[in-house]
């Protein structure tokens, strides 16, 4: 009995085309369409995070409004992905790598939708902060926002490449976000103690940092999806 031939991460992305039936080909196109939609959703959410962060730091109420409106598009695309994948599973009875891939996409889309909600929450906080008299002082926030987007891009790459290594690496990098969040927490406490009149501002910034920290955790969940897709194992990579 042979064992474990040719089954590694990223080993079976492309198949010999000529041997597949046209039905199998149509099935692969459906999986590809789901993959493309998840990538599109990832790009939308990345833009939402970037604009929410910018709205916060620039005190741009208008931009924050745009982010809040655009969340409906994020939700709509996630729902469409859910329907597509449900339909493929019902009609095609996917097995092995196919079923793992579809489930990974389904779950990744749910995580992305949730990340979109965090971006919306940050946009709401940006609007409240814009009403405060002082400029925001937490310089960690732009770095956290940037890091979240880098991590999100890495997760999307890992998902498409089925790269277990990249998935594990991005989960390790989440520590940096956690560190930045802790530093915001300490600064917020210090600000509240030093200037009680700025407690509301400090609290808003702390919430924004918390949303970004949670957003990073959602990215690591996608990393776990990639490990599941590549290996069939369910692991907690952000304990």
């Amino acid at each position: 009995m042979e064992q474990a031939t040719g089954q590694g991460s990223g080993a079976t992305t492309s198949e010999p085309e000529g041997e597949s039936s046209s039905l199998r080909h149509a099935f692969e196109e459906e999986i590809q369409a789901a993959r493309d939609d998840v990538l599109r959703l990832g790009a939308m959410v990345e833009a939402q995070i970037q604009r929410a962060g910018e709205a916060m730091m620039q005190r741009d109420v208008e931009l924050a409004d745009q982010v809040r409106w655009a969340d409906a598009e994020v939700n709509a695309l996630q729902q469409q992905i859910n329907l597509t994948i449900t339909s493929v599973i019902a009609r095609q009875g996917p097995m092995a790598r196919d079923v793992r891939e579809l489930l990974a996409f389904y779950h990744a889309a749910a995580e992305l939708e949730r990340m979109g909600d965090y971006a919306t929450n940050i946009a709401k906080l940006a609007q409240q902060l814009a009403a405060e008299p002082e400029l925001p002082i937490f310089r960690q926030i732009p770095r956290m926002e940037e890091l979240c987007r880098e991590q999100l891009r890495a997760a999307m790459r890992a998902l498409v490449d089925v790269s277990e290594e990249e998935a594990r690496a991005l989960c390790r990098r989440d520590d940096e976000l956690d560190g930045l969040y802790n530093s915001v927490y300490e600064d917020a406490i210090a600000l509240m103690q030093a200037s009680p009149q700025r407690a509301q501002q400090a609290t808003h910034m702390l919430f924004a940092a918390h949303h970004l920290e949670r957003l990073g955790d959602r990215v690591t969940n996608i990393g776990e999806d990639v490990v599941f897709l590549a290996t069939g194992r369910v692991e907690d990579l952000n304990p």
Binding site: Q7, S20, R24, G93, A96, G232
Partner: protein, 257 residues
């Protein structure tokens, strides 16, 4: 006997029809009171392998085997083994329901009578029909011909007939391929109930059926020499979510010729 113990232990089994080798060098074990599914493309030798487990291939003149089939540690093909006794202990249900042209009652009672059963035949017939989940449907028509039943009922009658001689193992060769989805589901549910008392080995072309109904799945395929061989055998849940072998992956995901 615990589930970890093997009912069958195959050691480098090869089956020939004349000079044609249908399966080659198959080594595997079939666990006690579990449902083991054999899957693979047409011509991969899965039916031949199934039939070798109760010496059904003996009935084909040109058939012969090499290697060993150990049943509870005993070589099934040893000279002193009586194939009729083998087939009593290891029953078979076929693709097409094949009740005898007799009454429902006589279909079930046939085997025990041949075997000289001296107990309460009515009780045995009822027990067998109950175990095959057919009793409630036929209790008032035991004297009607078995062939008058629906396809799904006929197949359950064949299972009752197999059970009546109190076997240890039930072999099933695509038992649902001529049944509709409802009758298929009944047979699958029945298999699930039967595995409490019997070891079941099933050949199926329906991968969803193997995935739904079996505990262990063996995937066979054919080589250039057209002899079937075992590629991978694993717990069903693992084989259908994370097969080890690329050939298995390609087959179960539909990436074949």
């Amino acid at each position: 006997m615990s589930a970890d113990e093997a009912v069958f232990e195959l050691r480098e089994l090869s089956c020939y029809y004349g000079s044609f080798r249908a399966v080659r060098d198959i080594s595997l074990s079939v666990p006690h009171n579990r449902i083991t599914a054999l899957i693979g493309p047409s011509g991969c030798g899965k039916s031949t392998l199934l039939r070798s487990l109760n010496r059904m291939n003996d009935l084909v003149d040109s058939a012969r085997t090499e290697g060993q089939v150990l049943y509870h540690g005993v070589d099934l093909y040893a000279e002193d083994i009586d194939p009729v006794e083998v087939r009593r202990r290891i029953g078979m249900v076929f693709q097409k329901p094949n009740p005898f042209p007799k009454s429902i009652y006589d279909n079930v009672a046939f085997g025990p009578r041949v075997a000289g059963y001296s107990g309460d035949m009515d009780e045995l017939v009822e027990r067998s029909l109950r175990r095959a989940a057919l009793w409630d449907e036929v209790t008032d028509s035991l004297r009607r011909p078995g062939t008058a039943l629906s396809g799904g009922q006929q197949q359950r009658l064949c299972i009752a007939r197999a059970i009546a001689v109190e076997p240890d193992v039930i072999l099933m060769d695509e038992p649902c391929s001529s049944l509709d989805p409802i009758a298929t589901l009944r047979i699958e549910e029945l298999m699930h109930e039967l595995k409490e008392n019997y070891t079941i080995v099933i050949v199926t072309h329906n991968m969803q059926q193997a995935a739904r109904a079996s505990d262990i799945t063996a995937f066979l395929t054919v080589d250039q020499d057209r002899a079937g061989y075992l590629v991978e055998m694993a717990p069903t849940q693992q084989l259908f979510t994370m097969p080890h072998n690329r050939l298995t992956e390609d087959y179960i995901t539909g990436r074949f010729g």
